[in-house]
Amino acid sequence: MTTLTGVGVSPGVGFGPGYVLAYETPVPAPGARHGGDAGAERDRATRALEQVAADLEERGVRAGGEAQDILGAQALMARDPGLAAGVAGLIDAGKSAARAVYEAFGGYREMLVDAGGYLGERAADLDDVRDRAIAVIEGLPVPGLPSRAARPYVLIARDLAPADTALLSRDVVAAFVTEQGGPTSHTAILARAMGVPAVVACPGATSIAPGTPVLVDGVSGLVRPAPSEEEVATARNAASARDAVLAAATGPGMTADGHAVPLLANIGGPRDVDGALEHGAEGVGLYRTEFLFLDRTTAPSGEEQEAAYLEVLDAFPGGRVVVRTLDAGADKPLAFLPPQGEEPNPALGQRGLRLLRAHPEILSTQLAALARAAARSSAKLQVMAPMVATAEETAWYVATCKEAGLPSAGVMIEIPAAALRAADLAEEADFFSLGTNDLAQYAFAADRQVGALTALQDAWQPALLDLVALAVAGAVEHGKTCGVCGEAAGDPVLACVLTGLGVTSLSMAPPALPAVRAALSRHTREQCLLAARAAMAGTSPQEARAAARSHLPGLAGLAL
């Protein structure tokens, strides 16, 4: 069986026999009706829901910690008065208790799924409560997991309910693999809390035959059924070597010969600050501000914005915080603006700076709030605009920021036109930040959302490296800095190449920081430069990567 790929959400390597959890509570038939005694049927439903609530609570108390909160919330769902009223109404209309429970949950489920995101992931919690209640009503066994095992097993499931996983421990589970779920699913949260490797969103996982030995890498997201002994040993050694080296690399980002490359964090709001600090970020290289604006019917007030900016600034006293002003558009619409109308190509539409120029009041409120927050903090605030194509746009944005009292205003380089004429833009802007993901999307005419085009999204594509080099050259010509804040910055090998290309700071998702810090610290600036030249001489991403690695001998010690 071939290796499966998912998303690694809890680091580490796990190996053990696969335990495939493949149960599904049967859906009660749509026509299922009770015998006529609605009162007795209502009692059955009420008792079942209460039994489930009490069981969940009891498991929560035994598990403690985070799991107790999660299970407690599920118990509240089982005791929800709105749900109980819905069930009673359906039973009064003749439906069987099981069918009534199924339908009443269905209404809420749909609402959560439609909301998506955090609420969407709560649908799995609700499904679990529903299935447990139906199992009690129908007299079916409520499925459980072995809470003891001779050898820790790799738990594989379509999705896992916290009630299943809360009472497990590292002695029992070697790793979690689920077909569904995201980084904020309960499986991910509990796995991290337990210190057990986990991979989610791994299609095909439940087709692994029960008992098959499975190797799981919670960093790369790779799931390997029936690996050779050698593969297991290599993965384990690599993981422990990596852990040791990463733990040893601390302090600000710099090459072996002391060339400083500040390592910054990409964050989506104040809640990400803890993770950034934990991984040793020296500041913030990309503060996405969309969270303040999306999913709401009125624009956020200046005061609310100021508080959200200040909270992040205060976490980095004396450090640098780069805030990207609002990046919205047809694909991320704002409910408080008049509808933009259908755009056939939202990625090429009126988004980013283009939208802000059409609604300058939004930008001026945001810049004023940023200026007030900066005045109250010792952090060095910089602002930058998304989706900038021309020097004229750059000049307009920088002038607007200066009027608002913000001393440092830059632009993101994510449109090829901006990279091609980088020197013109650098004359106007105080700094550049390369958004490699969008830059690849626009340079290769390959939609980021289309899975079939991932190969064109590879940041090692030589054409993308050329655009990076052009942007850096433009910045250097005017004595400006040029950082990178895309996925590319978080690849430790590419981080060395970018440093060689003259990139001045690297900003990434916080968990990527330790590996990048370690890779940089093991190579001189000269080695990075040679690696960059070698990569640019390649004619394919594979060639570029291989050529760069041949100049970066320190990677071997990192097991990268």
């Binding site: 909160d69 407690g72 919330a73 509240l76 769902m77 929800d80 008065p81 709105g82 749900l83 809420y108 609402m111 959560l112 909301a115 955090y118 609420l119 709560r122 609700l126 104040p270 809640r271 303040l292 999913d295 709401r296 019917t297 009125t298 956020p300 609310e304």
Partner: protein, 85 residues
Amino acid sequence: MAERQVTVESEVGLHARPAATFVQTAAKAPLDVTVAKGGGQPVNAKSILAVLSLDVRKGDTVVIKAEGEGADEILDQLALIASAP
């Protein structure tokens, strides 16, 4: 009808633990309690599913209402929970 209008300060909004505490507190009151986001439709404050589906985020304003004996005390408690950071 007594009411309180508060701004939600919790990082996670009225979700997760704050939502659970809010609903558990409301459920103890022997009177009807509703909560609405901004000027929206009020929902039963004793229903976790209804409260979650309001999708109240940090910075949103909620209006909590109750009527009858003890309404002010319960509203004060709920306002405190909703506005806790």
